[in-house]
């Protein structure tokens, strides 16, 4: 079984990011939190900052996010944020 999971970053206006990833790094009020596939179910506060993730092909993507909440369960990570934008750099 491949160790990937689905990451979606959703704002009230649109789904900013929705792809299979192998690693996510979330900005939280108590530092950054790394998440791998088959993580235990968790609800986690998200701070304004940069969310980094590693895609299936090994590339890194960055998403700028506002404050919100992330939920990890059943090999799926959903990040609900006030605003979000994919960073091109």
């Amino acid at each position: 079984m491949k160790s990937v999971f689905r990451l979606s970053v959703v704002t009230a206006e649109e789904t900013v990011f929705d792809e299979q990833v192998s690693y996510v790094n979330l900005p939280t009020p108590f530092g950054s939190v790394g998440i791998l596939a088959r993580h235990a179910p968790m609800l986690c506060a998200v701070e304004k900052g940069v969310l980094r993730c590693t895609l299936e092909n090994g590339e890194t993507a960055r998403v700028l996010v506002g404050g919100g909440v992330a939920s990890v369960a059943d090999n799926e990570c959903t990040v609900l944020v006030a605003n979000g934008k994919i960073s091109e750099e």
Binding site: V10, P41, A45, G68, V69, A82
Partner: protein, 285 residues
């Protein structure tokens, strides 16, 4: 001849009206489409947000949050009245305003209004309802506008200026049907203590997650209601304008008929004059 020219002029002006109503209908249709797609996207967010809230609440016996706690005395109600930005949309605004008046009178408690939308400032003055503030909301509302409005309402509730906040708007049933309704925004009512406790880890803790989720829930509820109200306004305008365009077509048909009659009778008069003149000349010879 004077009559003919008058009818001509009339037809021209009705044709102009048809042009205007038709383009207003198109504009309303495109705005409706945009609002509807935003409403769809918002639904996705709302569903996930509610799922997370349920997870945070499940198994918790006591949930403490100022936005959840009803005030001890319920004396003052704040109505958030979401009117349209413009007229020319049938009975949309009038129906809502009448509904709001009835609501305020039948309730009997003290109340004040927060009005969203530019329509009918003078009419509102005439109702005798006190307006606390007016908020500008664009034709296709953005999440940022909703957040601003929600922050203002939260303030009103937490400062104790109002003990209950209700949204009053036209619920969107279909393009042809909108129904006025009112919905409680604050205090937020949640089902709590349900479920056997969550299998989730909470980082950093339940309370701070609850705070964040409630904030998002509040913002999003306001956002969805704004979108729904605007979708109703645009579709009401679309229907009204399409009816108006149809009416102008009918009117043009009638006027063309009248014009033909007038022209015919003018020609008849002219011919009979010529014939009469010729007969008179013949008689004279």
């Amino acid at each position: 001849m004077a009559n003919l020219r008058k009818i001509h002029k009339r037809i021209k002006s009705v044709e102009n009206t048809r042009q205007i109503t038709k383009s207003m209908k198109m504009v309303a249709a495109s705005k409706l489409r945009r609002t509807q797609s935003a409403f769809g996207a918002q639904g996705e967010f709302a569903g996930r947000c509610e799922k997370m809230l349920a997870e945070v609440c499940s198994g918790a016996q006591e949930l403490e949050h100022p936005l959840l706690r009803p005030h001890k005395e319920k004396r003052t109600v704040c109505y958030v009245l979401i009117l349209g930005n413009r007229g020319l949309c049938g009975a949309y605004n009038h129906t809502l305003l009448r509904y709001q008046e009835e609501l305020a009178h039948s309730d009997g408690r003290d109340c004040f209004l927060v009005v969203c939308g530019r329509w009918g400032k003078d009419l509102l003055l005439g109702t005798g309802l006190s307006v606390e503030r007016t908020v500008e909301i664009s034709d296709t509302p953005t999440a940022a506008e909703a957040q601003q409005l929600a922050a203002g309402l939260r303030e009103i509730y937490l400062s104790g200026k109002a003990d209950e906040i209700r949204l009053v708007y036209q619920q969107y049933k279909s393009v042809l049907q909108q129904v006025p309704c009112s919905k409680q925004l604050l205090p937020i009512s949640l089902e709590k203590g349900r479920g056997e406790g969550s299998r989730y880890l909470f980082e950093p803790d339940r309370d701070s997650l609850l705070e964040k989720l409630l904030q998002m829930y509040l913002d999003n509820t306001v956002y969805s209601v704004l979108l729904e109200a605007r979708a109703g306004e645009h579709s009401a305008r679309m229907t009204a304008m399409s009816a108006a365009a149809d009416n102008t077509e009918e009117l043009i048909e009638e006027l063309t008929l009248e014009l033909n009659h007038a022209r015919q009778s003018a020609i008849t008069t002219e011919i009979s004059e010529i014939v009469g003149g010729a007969a008179a000349l013949n008689d004279a010879r």
